[in-house]
Symmetry: C2
Subunit: 206 residues, 2 copies
């Protein structure tokens, strides 16, 4: 794709460097931006240029935040003895939207992935151990994605935390709510039979 | 989706304002950007902020260009008596990639669409009439998309240009190369029988 303008090409290249955005999509986005007024583009450009300086990590949980301590960690009504370990901020948003969790979080910032050159030292793991060591933490919930990298990281975290006096739990795996059994994969269905749980009338009523 | 940072929220909103980008995708893009170094973000931000000033329209054809006259209009080897009318720069890229066209272009910047509030005066139509009036144009090819808006615009342009001494042509419609007849829609197949053309041995060999 040979664009007729060097500046256009530059901006298209920048957009095309984003994950899941190809050059054709990038061009479509840039053409849309060209139709807007200068003021709007200026605001977008400033917001983009300043984001790294303006945004910081919460000193407690590693979540993205405007202040030193994020909105969740500073809520006194939350259960501070409960920490849910997640990969990134999107997992926090997903769990928060369930309205079923009232503890704190710990954001690793990724998972151990030798293929992508991410080792334990690249993740926010030492801070988690510090929190467990110094605080009144009673339970750590490992809520990483059920991928090979997620499992590896779970295993590493378990080893790191096993010596402390706390419960280490993980999300329950099983048949998704509203799914038909015949379409559930064997692995999930097999595990859900092995790990069957007491029938609970409350869950049926909901 | 309640993001923990105002600045993050701002940038996500800007990305989510792009066509085809929802808030979840926007957040994914911004999280990816946060992992880059300041220098790269600065270059992206500058490129975005300056695009409107740096890029201009070609005074001849309306295409996006760095100079007053774009690369295509300034090529003397092209047939200046042939003008292909297109909606935007992406259509030029598509036609150029066929390597079958050696004339000039005229970029309308859209099509007539009462639904979206785009009338003939919002498009680059007067400049086309000027070019036909003043130049040595012998043929105008209407190469707009085969949508209702495209057909309306074709009709409007035809009325505007009918009085001049020139050929007005349009792209041939018919069965796409490599398509199976049974999967072609009736409208296209019907038209391609009505507008059947002489068998050409050269097209078979290619």
């Amino acid at each position: 794709m040979n664009l007729p303008s060097k500046h256009l090409e530059d901006l298209v290249d920048h957009f095309a460097s984003l994950p899941g955005v190809g050059r054709k999509t990038a061009l479509r986005l840039v053409l849309n931006l060209l139709k807007r007024d200068e003021e709007e583009l200026g605001a977008f450009s400033r917001s983009l240029g300043e984001i790294k300086q303006k945004v910081c990590s919460c000193k407690e949980c590693g979540n993205i935040s405007d202040a030193d301590i994020c909105g969740i960690c500073s809520q006194t009504s939350r259960k501070h003895e409960l920490i849910c370990v997640v990969e990134d901020i999107r997992d926090i948003l997903a769990i928060e939207s369930t309205q079923q969790y009232y503890g704190l979080y710990h954001v690793l910032g990724g998972v151990i992935s030798p293929m992508e050159g991410v080792g334990p030292n690249d993740l926010n793991i030492d801070a988690l151990v510090d929190r467990v060591q110094n605080g009144e933490v009673k339970e750590v919930i490992l809520a990483l994605n059920a991928s090979m990298e997620g499992d590896t990281t779970n295993f590493y975290l378990y080893r790191k935390l096993a010596d402390f006096d706390l419960n280490i739990t993980t999300l329950s795996r099983g048949v998704a709510v509203g799914t038909e059994l015949q379409y559930t994969d064997e692995l999930t269905l097999g595990r859900s039979i092995v790990n069957r749980m007491p029938f609970d009338m409350n869950l049926v009523r909901k």
